[in-house]
């Protein structure tokens, strides 16, 4: 869901108010619409996330016990990895240790694809990382269960899965954070150790360009259609 655009900023503020209104009602149910930014291109996203573990939330799941365990193991691998990506081979090698009903490797592949379809994981060249929606929902869980392995962005202090890191001092930054910090800076330097920043500086996300690209693409069919 992206914010709708008309000329002027008033519409964007209305969206914030709109979402705040909704959130105030959802608070009692421990559900919230969170705003985040995708780690790869800096696009703003809104996601409806669940905030609490209750007896109800434990029951209402789309996935079986072994599938959830697979997701948890994949999550661990992704957090422990250097690049924020876990290879499918490594994930599949853990299939034997899963809780619940025994899962074959082939089934596990399909389950991983299911996760990609439901936008929990993102696949890139055989490697998996967390979808931004999953980061928004699981941030609390990740900070609680993997406090030492968690990587944090030096600029925004938010949870970091993918990003660029300084070779000398080891600090990491999100790609959109890097884009904003080094915007129109011909000599990018690490904010911590002042060494030359060795990586390519990505471009700041531009919603206008995105819209133009979207118009040229064919329209996606809406999920709810009342008429043919």
């Amino acid at each position: 869901m992206t914010s709708s655009h008309t000329s002027g900023n008033a519409t964007v503020e209305k969206l914030e108010d709109f979402i705040n209104n909704i959130n105030s009602v959802l608070e009692s149910l421990y559900i919230e619409i969170k705003k985040g930014v995708t780690e790869d291109d800096g696009r703003p996203i809104y996601a409806l996330v669940n905030l609490a573990t209750t007896s109800v939330s434990k029951m209402a799941s789309d996935f079986a016990e072994n599938e959830l365990d697979l997701f948890r193991k994949a999550l661990e691998l992704i957090i422990d990895s250097e690049t924020g990506f876990a290879s499918s081979t490594n994930i599949l090698n853990l299939v034997d240790q899963l809780k619940g009903k025994k899962m074959r490797k082939k089934e596990a592949e399909q389950v991983l694809q299911k996760f990609v379809q439901h936008k929990w994981l993102v696949e890139k060249e055989g490697e998996f990382t967390l979808h931004c929606r999953a980061i928004l929902e699981m941030e609390q869980y990740i900070r609680e269960t993997h406090p030492d392995a968690v990587k944090v962005c030096d600029l925004c202090h938010g949870l970091l899965i993918q990003g660029q890191s300084c070779e000398t001092c080891g600090i990491k930054m999100h790609l959109p954070c890097v884009a904003k910090y080094f915007q129109s800076n011909s000599e990018p330097r690490c904010p911590h150790c002042n060494d030359y920043w060795p990586h390519e500086i990505p471009e700041v996300f531009d919603p206008e360009k995105e819209r133009e690209a979207g118009i040229s693409k064919s329209n996606k069919k809406p999920l709810r259609s009342r008429q043919h």
């Binding site: 669940n50 799941s61 929990w120 999953a134 699981m138 609390q140 269960t145 030492d148 259609s225 008429q227």
Partner: protein, 403 residues
């Protein structure tokens, strides 16, 4: 309603009159019950008719009183309604009585027909109610026709009885009709669904057709149905989440530490193989260089021992005990020549000899590049090697082994 009797009557006659009056009022009441115009007409007619018959019967009663008793009885019976066992062939029958008799014959007929009709309808009751036929309407029309001939209350009463029966049946039919409108025919709906989706399997003779279809047929069936159905329903998306579906384990941190240690170990192990590899690679090259240096050392030692005597190439290089060593020696000597530490040239016998090059000479710009690139290829087969060993009488190798 009351009818004033036109003549003074005896008590018996008055009883008859009373019963007739009762019958008339009852007939009119029946007329009120029915909605049909015909029946009302009949009712109106009945009002008149009894009057006629009444006067007729009254007259006959008077006559009977004057004449004989039996006739009175007969007339009484006749006043109530035609009796079947009325003997009309009695003496002293007036033309009125004859008319009465003819009427009674007709009435008997009518009554007979009514009874037949009622019996038929009762027998076919189930049929009439359950089937969508017009048999009830037909029976009603028949009764209508019959009623045109009705002149006495007795027949009218029969007609009323038939009407009651008919209206009962009608009510039952109506009840059935109501339940039929809300009746859902599942089989018909299924057939229509298949038609909608495009699977014309009503035409197929084989009943197993559907079980033989592949998975795509049911999938496409449900997709088509879903497309149509979802446009008629408003549905909010269900809420999908993962957080909260499983407990966050406190044992996970411990797990993590082990993991980290393992990771470090892995890295250390990772270092070692690479180091070894480097050593290996170096050792290969180093081995060659070492050998070359060793052989150069040997050559120079020889030259120091025997100055100004160049050594025969073959004598230097060949190992009479091993062909492969010979080849290696040739290889190493070629390095020495390439690097400019020695020179190979042909002597007066056209045999190759090795001459050392002094370091001084090297420094004077006698570097290999100024000589130009001169390349020579020495090929030595097993036969050649054996022949050379024999020809030169080489008994032991000049280049001794280091291992």
């Amino acid at each position: 309603m009351g009818i004033r009797p036109p003549v003074q009557l005896t008590p018996s006659v008055s009883a008859v009159v009373g019963s007739v009056a009762k019958a008339v009022s009852w007939a009119s009441a029946v007329a009120d019950m029915s909605d049909e115009k015909d029946f009302l007409k009949g009712g109106v007619e009945k009002e008149e008719e009894p009057g006629v018959s009444f006067t007729g019967s009254a007259a006959s009663v008077k006559q009977a009183e004057e004449e004989r008793e039996p006739i009175k009885v007969e007339v009484a019976l006749g006043a109530d309604g035609c009796s079947d066992d009325l003997g009309c062939g009695d003496a002293g029958i007036t033309p009125d009585l004859l008319g009465l008799a003819a009427d009674e014959e007709k009435c008997r007929n009518i009554r007979k027909q009514y009874w037949q009709l009622i019996y038929n309808v009762q027998q076919n009751r189930d049929d009439i109610v359950n089937t969508a036929s017009d048999s009830l309407t037909e029976a009603l029309e028949e009764a209508n026709v019959l009623f045109d001939g009705v002149s006495r209350t007795r027949e009218a009463a029969l007609d009323a009885q038939f009407l009651v029966l008919a209206s009962d049946l009608g009510k039952e039919k109506a009840k059935q009709l109501n339940s039929n409108t809300s009746f859902f025919n599942q089989v018909a709906f299924c057939d229509f669904l298949f038609l909608f989706v495009g699977l014309n399997w009503m035409e197929d003779d084989e009943q197993d057709e559907l079980s033989g279809c592949d998975d795509n047929v049911p999938l496409s069936f449900w997709e088509t149905v879903q497309k149509e159905a979802s446009s008629w329903m408003l549905r909010a998306e269900t809420f999908h989440f993962i957080f909260g579906s499983f407990k966050s384990e406190p044992s996970a941190p411990k797990h993590r530490l082990d993991h980290q240690k393992k990771v470090h170990k892995m890295e250390e192990n990772g270092d070692m193989p690479t180091k070894l590899r480097k050593v290996d690679l170096n050792s290969n090259q180093e081995a060659t260089e070492k050998e070359v240096e060793r052989i150069l050392g040997l050559l120079q030692m020889y030259f120091r021992k025997y100055p100004d005597t160049p050594v025969s190439y073959f004598e230097f290089v060949i190992d009479p005990n091993s062909f492969s060593r010979t080849v290696e020696n040739i290889f190493y000597v070629s390095f020495i020549i390439r690097d400019g530490f020695a020179r190979i040239r042909l002597d007066q016998d056209r045999l190759p000899i090795l001459e050392p090059i002094n370091i001084n000479q090297m420094g004077e710009g006698n570097d290999p590049s100024s000589h130009g690139r001169k390349q020579g290829v020495i090929s030595l087969s097993l036969e050649d090697w054996k022949n050379i060993v024999a020809a030169f009488e080489i008994s032991e190798a000049m280049i001794t082994n280091s291992y």
